[in-house]
Symmetry: C2
Subunit: 328 residues, 2 copies
């Protein structure tokens, strides 16, 4: 991909949407050298955006909820970027089509930007690409950056590492509260939303969730931001019901973070997470380089493990030693 | 955790269930030194088990389906271990309770073993612990090891790296086929199961899925094991309907792998994956060691990035350089 990165960065500074879109493509598909140049240039322009994470299982109505929240934030005069993070899919065309359909709800509004991202390209996948896409959107000057992910477990934890406020969406009948607990979402949520609250079972879901939150609180003790107890709100996002209250809860959480100095703490955590992800990705890249071609070291080590000549840990030690030499 | 690992390994060789359970606890919670000793001792005894992955979103009825498949495999005279992999949860007590309830269906049958695993403990989480738990269960002599995971996207890909045969479970009304495609499950599935097939929408889900498989096939070209086209089967697991056909499809896939030499190829891929995960985990551990206490290097680097003195990539370079010295 031959691109004039300096021109794109200059274009971004002048608010050009095309430059923004192309820089996000570099984040998703570009070489690490290109990424390094882009992040290096944009990093001084970051630190202003509020980052919201919205996550939940397939079918809870995340996209509709996200769009309704974005509309409400727009009404309050804030510019909004939505990063819809999809796990790897061979059908990236579908994601692009989805963007276009969703954009129709915000057509001709330059204060809303929607982008889908799939985990192709980099070895570290979305946990590597997402925080860097947030850097680009932050530098582009959006007031709010919403990261919307399909997710159970792992991805919510990664969202929470990048977001200022994490919102977990549930819906009645989509797997019960016990499954929500299994998925490990309870610790990372700042706000819970029960969408499709007009469907049967919303009340039961809410009381199960409330019970588990209390149990978790009793088990885990007082962790996280002292004094914040995640509210549980009900919405019917397709009809816009309950959205004002959700945005109110998000704003209240922002105020809470600001009052406690937590905004700074979370931004610090976000940079810390980014640095570690970049270092891990570099390590994966070194491993990948050692594991390709005719001198595939990993293949040789695997054969020796299969021949019972090495155990897997000793093989991993040899891979690490080789990567230290290779990275030198 | 002071444990006599040699005694546990000896106990495992004599078929003691208590030794098996305690070794799995070491995999989940033990130190890396303990793990290294366990895997080193057990590795020579592995390579016999067939590893099945069963995955799907919350609510599709995975546990019921898994139990029904296990019952059918038992009827064919095979011993079965089920590893129920849950994303991190603060409620590990819940997982244990779940095991006990599920075991009641197989009570007094020494040929079935069920264990839930949560991603506490190690930095690499379940992608690190799961392949090692499989080593323990393989060494314990089970004919079939079933890894059951809640998952969307990432976790299925990791299952496929460890499993011989990957089964993806769907259900009508749990998010439509387009969402299945988004979740990136199409490339990794060897067998699709539409559970709750007596519910409305099963036919539509099947035809959507079939359409996407054909589209994906056309897009991605002929990848994977040549000559295997993943079947789509329907079950009502709570009533045991369709399970014989599912086990038939799994056995057919095993035969297919064996005929093509693919069993060997997949086992090679599994060991390769394990070695790389161990090396990555060692890297994460080194990073964690550098990022704790009063000399927290990652904290210092983060502060310099926040002060715009470094960009995040240069900070990652410094973390890597320090980790190379520290690991020496």
């Amino acid at each position: 991909m031959a691109v004039d990165l300096a021109a794109l960065v200059a274009g971004l500074e002048q608010g050009e949407r095309r430059a923004l879109a192309r820089l996000l493509t570099v984040v998703e598909d570009g070489s690490v050298e290109q990424l390094r140049e882009v992040i290096g240039a944009l990093h001084p322009r970051t630190g202003r955006a509020r980052v919201l994470g919205i996550s939940g299982s397939p079918g809870v109505g995340k996209s509709t909820l996200t769009d309704a929240i974005a509309t409400q934030l727009r009404a309050a005069g804030r510019s909004v970027a939505i990063l819809a993070v999809d796990p790897s899919s061979p059908f990236s065309g579908g994601a692009l089509l989805g963007d276009r359909i969703r954009m129709q709800g915000h057509h001709a509004d330059p204060g809303v930007f929607i982008r889908s991202m799939a985990s192709r390209g980099h070895l570290g996948g979305l946990s590597f690409a997402t925080p860097q896409a947030v850097v680009v959107l932050d530098a582009a000057g959006f007031d709010d950056v919403i990261i919307e992910t399909v997710g159970v477990g792992q991805s919510e934890v990664e969202i929470a590492a990048t977001a200022d406020t994490t919102l977990i969406a549930l819906a009645p009948g989509m797997g019960d509260g016990v499954q929500a607990a299994k998925a490990g979402i309870l610790e990372v949520a700042d706000v819970f939303v029960i969408n499709k609250a007009d469907a049967a079972g919303a009340g039961r879901l809410e009381s199960e969730l409330r019970g588990m939150l209390e149990l978790g609180h009793a088990t885990a003790g007082e962790e996280g931001e002292a004094g914040w107890w995640p509210p549980i709100l009900r919405t019917v996002a397709v009809r816009g019901e309950g959205i004002t209250e959700v945005v109110g809860a998000i704003d209240a959480h922002t105020d809470h973070l600001d009052a406690a100095g937590g905004g700074r703490v979370r931004r610090h955590a976000r940079v810390r997470h980014l640095i570690r992800e970049l270092a891990l990705e570099a390590t994966r890249r070194t491993f990948a380089r050692l594991a390709e071609g005719e001198d595939d070291l990993l293949d040789a080590l695997t054969a020796r493990v299969e021949g019972r000549e090495l155990d897997p840990y000793t093989a991993a030690d040899e891979l690490l030693a080789a990567s230290r030499s290779a990275a030198g």
